[in-house]
Symmetry: C2
Subunit: 334 residues, 2 copies
Amino acid sequence: MARIAIIGLGLIGGSLGLALKATPREDLAIWGYDEDGRARERARLIGAVDRAVESPRAAVADAGLVVVATPAARIADVFEAIAPALAPDAVVTDVASTKGRILEWAAQHLPQHVSFVGGHPLAGKTEAGVEHAEAGLFQGRPYAVVPSEGAGETAIRSVVGLIHAVGAQERFMTADEHDHFVAAVSHLPLAASTALFTLLRRSQSWADFGKIAGPAYHDLTRLASGDPDLAADIASMNREEIQYWLDRYILELKRFRDLLDGPNEEILAEFANAQSDRARFLAGEDLEDQPRRGAVPDSRPSMAAMLLGPKIYARLRGVTKRAAPGARAARERP
Amino acid sequence: MARIAIIGLGLIGGSLGLALKATPREDLAIWGYDEDGRARERARLIGAVDRAVESPRAAVADAGLVVVATPAARIADVFEAIAPALAPDAVVTDVASTKGRILEWAAQHLPQHVSFVGGHPLAGKTEAGVEHAEAGLFQGRPYAVVPSEGAGETAIRSVVGLIHAVGAQERFMTADEHDHFVAAVSHLPLAASTALFTLLRRSQSWADFGKIAGPAYHDLTRLASGDPDLAADIASMNREEIQYWLDRYILELKRFRDLLDGPNEEILAEFANAQSDRARFLAGEDLEDQPRRGAVPDSRPSMAAMLLGPKIYARLRGVTKRAAPGARAARERP
């Protein structure tokens, strides 16, 4: 009987359990641990785990695959705690939204006889906790895979198997790429949303603002309602990348501000380009394009520094490209 | 038979017509005009107007209430066109998202024998055009009312009657207040959303960003998909207020950026405060509060300069406050 251990039974850990149990295999058992006894009990009751155990070590003993789904800042401690109990050739993965630090911790704390393959499902919702877990959370979503230097093909296949089992789509990348990309599409929006909420909330006219605020302000500040622990972990663990993107965003806002002093036609062109580009984005149509005329270079090279060595890396990227449904759709459209 | 004229049959004009017809009064007739013949025909077919006519003048002749629902930048031309045909004592209102310029245009172009009462429903959606009109668009939404200097009580009551008939809630304010408030809660989010989309779209790594972008990026860039004409009108007509708020937002983002260099506890406190404050906001709980400790002053005084004279203005504000459900709920909660 194959055993999977899930350490940390919150929204993501619980949803992974539910998604795995939704495609039942008789030979698969899921054991889970959370330091919160109520979360453990709840996870067992909703069927996210077959067995809830009393310690991380008990969960990982004899497990072939260990998923660490605790808050990111706690992962070093979890690695340290489970290290002595990990089975030989066990595969360890995580679900944190940063990868650089996690890979360092894995190298530091996990024994040589296990393989670490970092993971990050690009999925979630505003609510935290196992009570909001759902089996469909990962369906059709991208799932970043960041293998450690020593991870072999079997270990990588094991994590990709997990990703497919929960309905997600693997995307291979290096830790640097991951942290740079995710800072742009996820952490920058979090910061922008929180700052927009806080700015008006702390204004003297807040009572007036709040009373006339409509869908625009509601939607744009939604991320300010996310789990503060998760947000703070992200902010401190991926600080430099977030600051890099905040600087870029500030420059973009200044450009936008100055544009308003210019001719009306340029203002209209700015909004019209954004609208049509976003329509193409939503239709999956422009993701293979070269950058547009006037594109600002990223100023840091796409870090193709290969943790896996160039050959494996290139092969893995190739697999992802062939498998990507968005890419196929783009080519097939007229 | 009372007659209402709607000039401009787009999302807002069409929805106003549908909402009015949804509470049918036998003695009310709605005549509409749009320069686009298809929009006219469509508005008539879906029942947003009783009659679609061929010119703005034909629509307003004998109308007691005229609603100008064209793009904001066109309103001066509409005023000029309808001026000679307006009935004595007719009331003219609009639905534009800026008010200062519109009131100037009304003073300039409308005859002395009519009253202008500016209006702005804080409602809408991403899609434009009468084909997206719906009767429930204004239900429970705030609706700003900005009477011109000469507008009497009967004219104001007429516009408030329209607002109640479509299910909205009137909020009296001056044009300066309106343009300042709306820049904060609506135009700043529009600019922030568009800039966030454009920043990543023009980056060299766009193809990678687009493939892993999840709900955070999607939601935060939603407003970039709005009607570019409307957005450009807003940006040029309320330019100074938007620039003021963009400057404040840039400062807030810089503060946020620097906060990330500080201790983890302060980062956590920032997110935790935002989360709990937004929960209170969503529950309607904090809108009567004094500004928080550390509140940044708005740097421009709340413009209580009264277009109506201080007495009427104070009375109207009093009415709005008593009627505001959010305010009541806040006081009734423990």
